[in-house]
């Protein structure tokens, strides 16, 4: 597929990593420039540098990392033509369907090609992928892309409505992957396309439960067995630095705070001044305000780092205080994708051999 050389060459497709949210493919075309918020770069400057290099912009506005494409990076960088499959689903489907070097695979539809790239990588040049897309413009774009990425030998792309017209191969493939709105219409076609001499497998990708129920029923009717269904997700974790404050310190601070306020009050009483009435209340209000502000700040920055007012503690004293417990901790990120699709799997059992089958070696 992509270049496996150490260094970037003209004509290579590279991945330009600017931030986690900005990962873009780039076809190295000396003479062209790359202009982004993170600076200005010339393609020519990237030729000859090793893959994985950090490159500063010509105008000092930032930097990029120049990476070698992988199907996983491609999934993060690709132009979306449809909703796409992500790592967790792709990896799990590949594993359940036992897709590996040399496998023959069908996928329908091609969509944005996220799954296609991963499968092409995994089956290698001795495997083959038949990919079907019913949307003509998308099919054409995908075909261009596969060709540009050196996958033309591995992938055969067909513009076709497989639910109506079936697949282009028979008794040929080890695995079928259906990402269609109505996969049940393609299941009999899939059965035809699968090999009959060894165990073969199918996966249907459906976001809704009602589609699953209909798919299960169709798979069962077509003689598929071991029908099972999975959901898988990748839960990214955030790392935080947590410090558990010692309580004794808070107790001391509060005692001092109260004493200070009491001293002030006594002082005022002694002076018998006119401004008596408001002082206590002011102190109260200030304090409540301070507390709320702190809570908000810690909310905005990091909930785990919390402080009680430092103003009232003599700096000299803190050395005697127990120090906070520091921990490096993690939790699942708040915005986890909660569902992608249901993955319905089934097997097609090979025809039983006759008793006279010779022992193969």
């Amino acid at each position: 597929m992509w270049s496996s050389a150490r260094d970037v060459a003209a004509g290579d497709l590279v991945i330009i990593w600017q931030t986690r949210e900005l990962i873009q493919p780039l076809l190295i075309t000396p003479g062209k420039d790359l202009n982004s918020r993170f600076g200005y770069y010339r393609h020519a400057d990237l030729v000859g540098i090793p893959y994985g290099s950090k490159v500063g912009s010509r105008n000092g506005k930032g930097f990029i990392h120049v990476l070698r494409p992988t199907p996983e990076l491609w999934t993060m960088a690709l132009p979306h033509r449809t909703q796409i499959l992500y790592l967790a689903d792709i990896a799990f489907i590949t594993s359940w369907l036992d897709i590996k070097r040399g496998s023959s695979v069908i996928e329908a539809g091609t969509g944005s090609g996220s799954f296609s790239h991963s499968i092409a990588r995994t089956i290698g040049s001795v495997g083959h992928l038949w990919s079907y897309e019913f949307h003509e413009a998308r099919a054409n774009k995908a075909r261009e892309e596969f060709s540009l990425h050196g996958m033309a030998d591995i992938v055969t792309l067909t513009h076709r409505n497989v639910c109506k017209d079936g697949f282009t191969v028979e008794d040929t493939v080890d695995a079928v992957f259906l990402d269609l709105p109505a996969p049940w219409d393609a299941i009999e076609h899939a059965k035809k396309a699968l090999k009959k001499t060894s165990p073969t497998r199918i996966c249907c990708f459906s976001p809704c439960m009602e589609q699953v129920l209909r798919t299960v029923s169709a798979l069962n009717d077509s003689g598929f067995t071991d029908i099972t269904m999975f959901e898988t997700l990748l839960r990214p974790h955030e790392v935080h630095q947590l410090s558990l404050q010692p309580l004794t310190q808070a107790v001391e601070k509060l005692k001092k705070l109260e004493q200070k306020r009491e001293d002030k009050r006594q002082h005022q009483i002694a002076r018998s001044s006119k401004r008596k009435r408001d002082d206590l209340q002011e102190t109260d209000a200030d304090n409540v305000g301070g507390k709320r502000l702190r809570t908000q700040e810690s909310g905005d920055e990091d909930v785990s780092i919390r402080d009680i007012p430092d103003a009232v503690v003599d700096p000299g004293q803190s050395a005697n205080q127990p120090s906070p417990i520091k921990l490096s901790v993690s939790k699942v990120s708040p915005d986890v994708r909660g569902h992608t699709s249901y993955l319905t799997f089934a097997r097609l059992v090979p025809t039983a051999p006759s008793k006279s089958v010779a022992i193969q070696e």
Binding site: P79, I90, T94, S95, R101, P236, E238, S333
Partner: protein
């Protein structure tokens, strides 16, 4: 694909793994209970699977994997595949059945008698059901449950399970997940994809997961590529997981080498390499031994040379040693833009590691993920997630090895030949087509700042 020799690759593929059951294979059998167990298939031997029965191994040899058999005497009959049966709901409820009064009408002795007289399991169940006082009062759901329970108990059928890496991992995970460090099939599949494991690739692995990672990488290489594993014992360990994969040993030997933490040190000279005296004129036996020793020494020295030459596609780690130390030892040998994947049954060691790696400009975007998996029962009318699932499938840290340029963030720094400079000056300033979507992207922070907050965002799953 950039693989050169198409013919070689094909022949390696064909010989990597037999597609049918062979004498010498260790085969997983799925028993009526749903459990899988490994059995050694040896020509002319008898395989005994507890109360399910026993049969001659030859009955399986040459068959494709994945068939279901019934044991009748010592013979096997291939069974048609089992399909789901629709459960019809009737008006019956459990309303009138008194708890605790669910009497079993056949005594154990009676059942044993029926079994010995060769009555078929399904007939025993039927007999039990017919004599079951309350059976007709039960709902169809309860009946189905009851039938399944009985079937698991009396059935004399089993299936052969194809030694796919999924099945083998699943088998071990259910059998003893501690021994494979909680690596569930979904987590394993993510490790392989994150590390970009592909035919022809070159990988370094630290596998303290009973050989699960070694097996999975070898399976993915399919006979083409290189794997160096580094272990903490002086000789390569026997990996229990690999036994079930039934790889051809000669192909594995070609693509897999093993070093240990001592021989993987550049500044260490292994004892075998110290050998200098030719010791000629000894006995035949002695010479054979010397040859063997010479071969072992060559293999070791070659593996060291290969490791130290570096440029590996990825480094995969599943180990109880401090992962930071492991990286400090091996990161040198990973190619630029190569992947690092570290697995742990606990998040904590990866949390510590991530908080160090994010300060190291040699690692791009170190991020921690946990895999989540849920399996469903899909019997018609009774679809629901399975009642018991594995709690944890372990945690992964993924990062990309990069070459830092300390000046890059401050000033521009470029290697530029005159020719390139000329081209660049002539080039127009149009943004390449593949970047057109970028123009409309609203970014709120400079990349330097964003990169610092690396762990706070979901790397692998951008919303889109």
């Amino acid at each position: 694909m950039d693989i050169a020799d198409h013919e070689d690759a094909t022949s390696a593929l064909n010989s990597f793994k037999a597609t049918t059951i062979q004498s010498g294979h260790t085969v997983l059998l799925r028993l009526p209970s749903g459990e899988t167990k490994g059995f050694k298939v040896e020509k002319d031997a008898t395989i005994s699977i507890g109360r399910v029965g026993s049969f001659r191994a030859n009955e399986l040899i040459g068959h494709p994997y994945g068939l279901t058999y019934e044991i009748r005497g010592k013979e096997l009959t291939v069974q048609p595949p089992h399909t789901l049966q629709e459960v019809e709901e009737t008006d019956a409820t459990n309303e009138l059945i008194n708890d605790g009064e669910f009497v079993q009408p056949l005594t154990l002795g009676e059942i044993e008698g029926l079994k010995k007289s060769g009555v078929h399991a399904s007939d025993i169940i039927k007999a039990q059901i017919e004599q079951h006082a309350n059976y007709s009062l039960k709902t169809e759901y309860s009946k189905e449950k009851y039938k399944q329970r009985k079937e698991a108990k009396y059935s004399k059928t089993f299936s052969t399970v194809e030694p796919t890496i999924y099945n083998v991992c699943d088998h071990w995970f259910k059998k003893d997940q501690n021994r494979i460090r909680d690596i569930r099939p979904d987590t394993l599949s993510q490790i392989l994809n994150l590390a970009n494991v592909r035919p022809g690739g070159r990988y370094i692995v630290v596998d303290e997961a009973s050989g699960l990672l070694v097996s999975a990488i070898l399976e993915r290489l399919g006979g083409e590529g290189r794997l160096i594993s580094i272990c903490d014992v002086d000789s390569p360990p026997a990996y229990p997981v690999m036994t079930l994969m039934n790889f051809r040993k000669d192909v594995v030997t070609n693509i897999h080498s093993s070093l240990n933490w001592a021989t993987a040190q550049e500044d260490y000279t292994p004892a075998v390499a110290q050998e200098s005296s030719p010791e000629v004129g000894k006995s035949e036996r002695h010479r054979i031994r010397l040859d063997k020793r010479k071969n072992a020494a060559d293999t070791l020295l070659n593996a060291r040379e290969e490791l130290f030459a570096g440029e590996f596609d990825a480094l995969l780690i599943a180990s109880d040693y401090d992962p930071l130390e492991i990286l400090q030892n091996l990161i040198l040998y990973v190619a630029g833009s190569g992947s690092i994947v570290v697995q742990s049954p606990f998040s904590q060691p990866l949390t510590e590691l991530q908080s160090k790696l994010r300060l190291d400009p040699g690692y791009l975007a170190p991020s921690i993920t946990e895999s989540w998996l849920r399996r469903y029962q899909v019997l018609p009318g009774r679809t629901h997630p399975t009642m018991s699932t594995s709690g944890s499938g372990g945690f992964l840290l993924h990062a990309i090895k990069v070459y830092d340029d300390p000046n890059a963030s401050k000033v521009s720094s470029h290697r530029q030949s005159k020719r390139q400079k000329k081209e660049a000056d002539e080039g127009n300033l149009t943004v390449p087509q593949t970047l057109e979507s970028y123009q409309t992207t609203e970014l709120e922070e400079k990349n330097a700042a964003v990169a610092d907050q690396a762990s706070l965002t979901n790397e692998m799953e951008p919303t889109g």
